[in-house]
């Protein structure tokens, strides 16, 4: 659903506190979407999109579940309006997936040999130290490190 602020939308209380940050993140996202692709690999130009999406969802998740600064109503409002990805947040609630970068990296159906992406492997078990996963450019999202 397009995020057009029509007058129909009724914002719950507490919205004014989080609105500026969310606006900034949205602006960042637009910038990432309009970035030229010069000098970047095909997959690399998509990485900022995933990164910012993760950031937005993380902000709202933190506010509600960690810092408990917003009400349930506001939280659900943000999810409905599309300021955060509720599927990703659902994964963050599970043990072992607290730092998941994106949903694709965890999906074994999307990979050869039904494995996860390499960014899900903890650093001490990996052979290469420095990696950037090809989907989202993640450098390591295992919960341990």
């Amino acid at each position: 659903m397009p995020k057009i602020k029509t007058s129909r939308v009724k914002y719950p209380e507490g919205w004014e506190l989080i609105e500026p940050t969310l606006h900034e993140l949205e602006a960042k996202m637009r910038e990432a979407e309009n970035d030229p692709h010069d000098g970047k690999r095909k997959c690399e130009s998509l990485w900022p999109i995933f990164k910012i999406a993760h950031q937005k969802s993380r902000y709202i998740y933190d506010l509600y579940y960690r810092r408990k600064e917003i009400s349930k109503e506001l939280y659900e409002f943000c999810l409905d309006q599309g300021y955060a990805d509720h599927n990703l947040i659902a994964k963050w609630k599970k043990p072992g997936y607290e730092r998941l970068c994106c949903l694709q990296c965890m999906q074994t159906r999307d990979h050869n040999f039904t494995t996860t992406c390499v960014c899900r492997v903890p650093k001490h078990l990996r052979e290469e130290r420095v990696i950037e996963c090809v989907h989202c450019g993640c450098k390591g999202c295992a919960s341990g490190d």
Binding site: G39, F113, I131
Partner: protein
Amino acid sequence: MAHRLLRDAQADGWERSDFPIICESCLGDNPYVRMTRADYDKECKICTRPFTVFRWRPGRDARYKKTEICQTCCKLKNVCQVCLLDLEYGLPVQVRDTALAINSNDAIPKSDVNREYFAEEHDRRARAGIDYESSYGKAHPNDTILKLQRTTPYYKRNRAHVCSFYARGECTRGAECPYRHEMPVTGELSQQNIKDRYYGVNDPVALKLLSKAGEMPSLSPPEDESIKTLYVGGLDARITEQDLRDHFYAHGEIESIRMVLQRACAFVTYTTREGAEKAAEELVNKLVVKGLRLKLMWGKPQASKPEGEVPEDDVTKQGLMSLGGMLPRAVISQQQTNQQPQPPGTQDQQQPPLHYFNIPAPPPVERTFYPSMDPQRMGALVPSQEASDNKGGSEKQPQQQGLLRAPNSSGQAYPVLPPHLQSQYPQYYPPYGYMAPPRPPYQQQYPPYQSMMAPPPPPPAPPAMQQYPPGAPGSSSQG
């Protein structure tokens, strides 16, 4: 062309297979390999027909490799599907064909439809099992092939390709760049064409190999005519004396083989100089035992020494050692005092108390059981000249004593020994390159040896006789 729609997989000539035909190097060093199979994924680089592509990673530091040519093309030339080198020898097609004088090039058409038709026909026949003859299985490897073939897999070709951005100085990936950050090697060998390599025409690597084969140095016989010993280097624990014997017996009568495992080498001595020369000629560059390519050189030149004489200082021990380790004690104790540089491999036997186990020369014996236990009786130094003559005369005795001494080294390795033997053993010099046999069998042999000590005395001269009376009480005390 083969770019028809797939109606009937078999009839249309689209190839489907269950496992790739690849060489060891391409498969990699990892026994656990995960391979993906994709039917009709790519077209063969030679015949351009769709075929099953297999993709895997041949080892931890390797890039992903995939089959490049179809199995039909690969079977026609007996090459690996990935690297297009021969499956048995690891050589380029051109090298193998010129070496074995096979010329199948005329049969395989190279142009367009002709080529496809040929490939399909061949495929159809192979599947039907008719008329399929491959000349590659029947050919015997000849000299050139043996000299040039790869004996171990070569994993360097599985490394990642060189980062082309790095070559320009523009690689922004830095540490996570999976490509090699080295400057690319340019030269004639870099301009290779897969079709040229497959058909065996104009292949720069093959040309280089062939010219190298022509120039491979042959082992020239040394000027000193008395050398009958060949040095074999690069041994492994898997290679036994019997293996060496099998390889060397064909060229002449082998007098002795000594293996020095500490130095991964062996010395093969022939009874005749001609035999040694013949062996050198035939085996140089071609000696491959149990898959290991061995180095063959002449043994170090030296003046030969008859057994009984006292060796001079500058005589290296190899000639003496090449008698199969039947050296009399006199010689050994003499050599022990010499501080000369010695050829590799003989050093262990030469100064055994110093070298072996880093134990200094043992003190003289307190009790003697066998004459062989006492260097004096065995003819050490001056009084024993005659004794050493006698010892040299009968080969059997040294052999027995050699065998008796064998447990000595095991005695040193295993500190627990029957007490009556313990005092004697540190004094022993380790047998000449023998692996210490397990003790138990030898312990059982002591009683028979004791009895055997009595019969041999009659042949040797009286000086030898005097060894045995003391030996008898010794043996009786042991028994």
